[in-house]
Symmetry: C2
Subunit: 104 residues, 2 copies
Amino acid sequence: MKLKNEYDCPLHLTMDLIGNKWKPLLLFHLLNGPLRSGILQKKIPGISNKMFTQTVRELERDQLLSRKVYPVVPPKVEYELTETGKSLETILRDLDAWGKQRML
Amino acid sequence: MKLKNEYDCPLHLTMDLIGNKWKPLLLFHLLNGPLRSGILQKKIPGISNKMFTQTVRELERDQLLSRKVYPVVPPKVEYELTETGKSLETILRDLDAWGKQRML
DNA sequence: CAGTATCCTCGGCGATACTG
DNA sequence: CAGTATCGCCGAGGATACTG
């Protein structure tokens, strides 16, 4: 990750944080509340196990979502948007709406 | 590109169209009007010549921008947002604003 | 100036198998 | 159920040189 003041424009920073195929998708599916790991993953057809774990880890590192581990067997893990993550809600819904428009 | 009705959710379509590091950046810099090829490219530090051409071609194919060639020497090419491209304006500005917020 | 062609490398990513 | 480890491929993408 670059230093913040190295960016030529703010959009560049944004794209570094969520500018790939999966991140917006993951965040979008968490808009309605926390989800268990398995459930969330099933909502993203086409993503591999590895990519899922990796992506979710990066989002956690960048404070866009939080990871909650329940000390039970079998293991239970939930992912939930942080406040920062939630601040993307409007954008995520707009992106979804835009796609919807193009599907017609 | 998948068939439109193969998508599980509209956002997925959107991400296929503009879900990478460079596309939103390119489109963003065209919001204020058409730009010559060289000028546009210089506005995107870090992009290679090859990636620039490739990305711009994909955006043209997907009807998000148009390419206008002037029959002069030396060559002059301008890129301009299509109506579809312009329909992303709000989203692009929001993404930029979001990044700005995070830079503080 | 704008773009193409070629080469080559590095790492993204899937597949599979395994652990707590 | 959730996640890690390992292997291996293939293609994204950079560097360079060249054309109209």
